[in-house]
């Protein structure tokens, strides 16, 4: 990215003053090195977001930002309904409430390695992954509506999760004000056989070793112990969310003019929060959030079933579950005044700092766990929300490493078999229905996740707690 277009406000914060229709500045948080590596499209997209009606304070991009749709991936923006603010289907994305959860185990690396291949095979066999896979839970209309209203709570009521998990899921596993009536027949049909499925692309289930601890106290509060293993799941709202994104994006593209909204990019399609379409989308999107929360709860349940076959008394308690494609109603301080805002995070993680009222008591003094998925080889990070993230980015942080290479370029650079073999030599077992899919997700196709989390910490978004190194990766 051309840095001459930014004002450097710190080593990890870069500002673009409003120009050409921007209603607020744009701010990108990243080191100079990451900034130079970013696609110019990030500049274009984050400044376009700043043109949307009712935007509050600034449009933000996180250190893992890359070229997305309308919003950059790694984009954050908040809107005020009372100031004509909008809700944007493009600002949430197709995979509504895609997110990450991490379960703890008390298993050492050695215990997992002793059954590594068998455990990998069993997880791959038991957790439906990849295109064409189906879940075992069939939903009728009544069941589907209950799921769309209940989220993870619905899954738990059906014996597909544990009540104690709810404390460790945003909004206790259930987005309020979901509206199943706003979910189309097509979206419902697309979900009929997809509950408890992982999906494909960059979605995964990993068994990881806690390889490094950066903050002993916070790690202890989170239950992370160096040398022990965790299970991390990355997936979203499956076909239902994809269909809701598709349909409402179209409706918003076509009706923007009627609402007097000039779209700088059609993918920024949006509607006033107070409009009929805006409210209908919010109801449908919240139903999709509940679908994602239920889906991850079920996959966690499936992982528990597999681990129980190998290790007695391993309950896989949930450390935390957090979404990174959402629009949520939150209260934030703006110029000394607390306001209710509709915060869009597209490929960005909520990162509430210590003391936030929404955090469970056990975690409150330490800040919200922020789960950063890395690539199959480079590993992942657990961060904690910082107090400063509130004023920096409406309490938001990065969500992953971010790609540095297109899928096509990755398949030209690496063969899937070689990626699997190379990772095997590093002690990591990859299970995937598609070698081409593995090549597209090769570690080298991603940015250096360490540079991303270091930037997030330096920028005051979230601080490092632990580094997780994969032992098993089930890819969709």
């Amino acid at each position: 990215m051309d840095l001459s277009r930014f004002e450097k406000i710190s080593d990890t914060a870069w500002r673009v003053a409003p120009f050409g229709g921007m209603r607020a500045p744009a701010i990108v948080y990243a080191s100079e090195e990451l900034m130079k590596e970013m696609d110019d499209k990030v500049f274009e997209q984050v400044t376009n977001v700043a043109k949307l009606p009712g935007i509050v304070r600034a449009a933000y991009a996180m250190p893992d930002a890359h070229w997305g749709y309308g919003f950059p991936i790694g984009g954050v923006a908040a809107f005020d309904a009372d100031e004509g603010g909008v809700v944007s289907a493009g600002g949430v994305g197709f995979d509504v409430s895609c997110g990450v959860r991490t379960h703890l185990t008390h298993l050492t690396r050695e215990q997992v390695v002793s059954v590594q291949q068998e455990l990998a095979d069993a997880l791959f066999e038991h957790v439906p992954a990849g295109v064409g896979s189906e879940g075992e839970i069939a939903l009728d209309e009544q069941g589907l509506n209950a799921m769309l209203l209940g989220g993870a709570q619905w899954a738990i009521e059906r014996g597909l999760g544990r009540a104690e998990d709810l404390d460790r899921i945003e909004e206790r596993g259930c987005a309020a004000a979901a509206d199943p009536a706003a979910v189309s027949e097509h979206a419902r049909k697309r979900q009929r056989r997809e509950m408890g499925t992982l999906g494909s692309g960059n979605h995964y289930l990993e068994v990881q070793e806690v390889a490094e601890i950066f903050d002993e106290k916070t790690a202890a509060a989170y239950g992370l112990v160096k040398g022990e293993c965790v299970v991390t799941i990355h997936c979203g709202s499956r076909g239902l969310g994809h269909q809701i994104g598709t349909e409402y994006l179209r409706d918003m593209v076509i009706s923007a003019q009627d609402y007097g909204i000039e779209l700088p990019d059609r993918e920024l399609a949006c509607a006033p929060i107070k409009s009929v379409l805006g409210q209908k989308y919010l109801g449908a999107m919240r139903a999709a959030i509940n679908c994602a929360l239920a889906n991850r709860e079920i996959i966690g349940h499936l992982a528990r079933q597999v681990f129980a076959r190998f290790f007695e008394n391993e309950g896989l308690p949930l450390m935390f579950d957090v979404s990174h494609n959402t629009c949520k109603v939150e209260r934030h301080a703006v110029d000394g005044e607390t306001r209710q805002l509709f915060v869009h995070r597209k490929g960005a993680t909520r990162a509430f700092g210590p003391g936030h009222e929404s955090l469970p008591e056990a975690l409150r003094p330490y800040g919200q766990p922020v789960l950063i998925g890395g690539s199959m080889g480079a590993g992942s990070y657990v961060l904690a929300g910082m107090e400063t993230s509130e004023r920096q980015s409406f309490a938001s942080a990065c969500h992953g490493a971010g790609r540095r290479m297109s899928r096509h370029a990755a398949t030209r650079a690496w063969g899937g078999r070689k990626v699997v073999d190379d990772l095997r030599a590093q002690g990591i077992i990859i299970k995937s229905p598609s070698l081409r899919g593995v090549a597209e997700e090769a570690p080298g196709a991603y940015k250096d996740v360490r540079a991303v989390v270091d930037s997030a910490e330096a920028a005051g978004l979230a601080r490092k707690v632990a580094f997780l190194k994969p032992l098993i990766c089930v890819k969709g």
């Binding site: 197709f94 990849g130 064409g132 076909g239 994104g245 179209r250 076509i254």
Partner: protein, 147 residues
């Protein structure tokens, strides 16, 4: 990446890069041909279309206020049919009249073993969307697919 199409000298498809996802582009002597080639490009992002047997046909009828919006609708309709019917497609037929599209997708039930799909298409986007006649007799239909 590109491959020669079946329908005419101008007909072909290719992928273009997008950071996280994949751009699909179809060329043809008419919008119809470009739409069919864009659909093939989308399938090629998922699997090798040559591995798909033609065993079933699915008919699709759509309308949209503009040709480029119709392209997004067409690709999204195919994504929906693939997901709902657990199918993959290897050939397409399209006719367009006054922004009304009649399409046919030909393919079979997905086989994870034989097709080994690399990714799942989540949705066709308005990013880099275009349906234009670059010069007389050469139409280009393209957009980015979220995978």
């Amino acid at each position: 990446m590109s491959a020669a199409g079946d329908h005419g000298a101008a007909a072909r498809w290719e992928h273009f890069p997008h950071d996280a996802d994949i751009g699909v582009r179809g060329y043809g002597a008419s919008p119809e041909e470009a739409f069919a080639q864009a659909a093939l490009a989308m399938m090629a992002a998922i699997l090798d279309p040559a591995t798909v047997r033609i065993e079933q046909t699915i008919d699709i009828v759509l309308e949209a206020p503009r040709l480029d919006l119709l392209l997004v609708d067409w690709l999204n309709a195919l994504i929906y049919e693939m997901a709902e019917r657990r199918m993959v497609f290897g050939a397409f037929e399209v006719t367009i009249e006054d922004h009304h599209l009649k399409g046919r997708a030909l393919g079979e039930a997905v086989s994870r073993a034989r097709h080994a799909p690399a990714v799942e298409a989540k949705g066709a986007t308005y990013t880099e969307l275009a349906c234009v006649e670059d010069w007389p007799g050469l139409w280009r239909a393209q957009c980015v697919i979220d995978v």
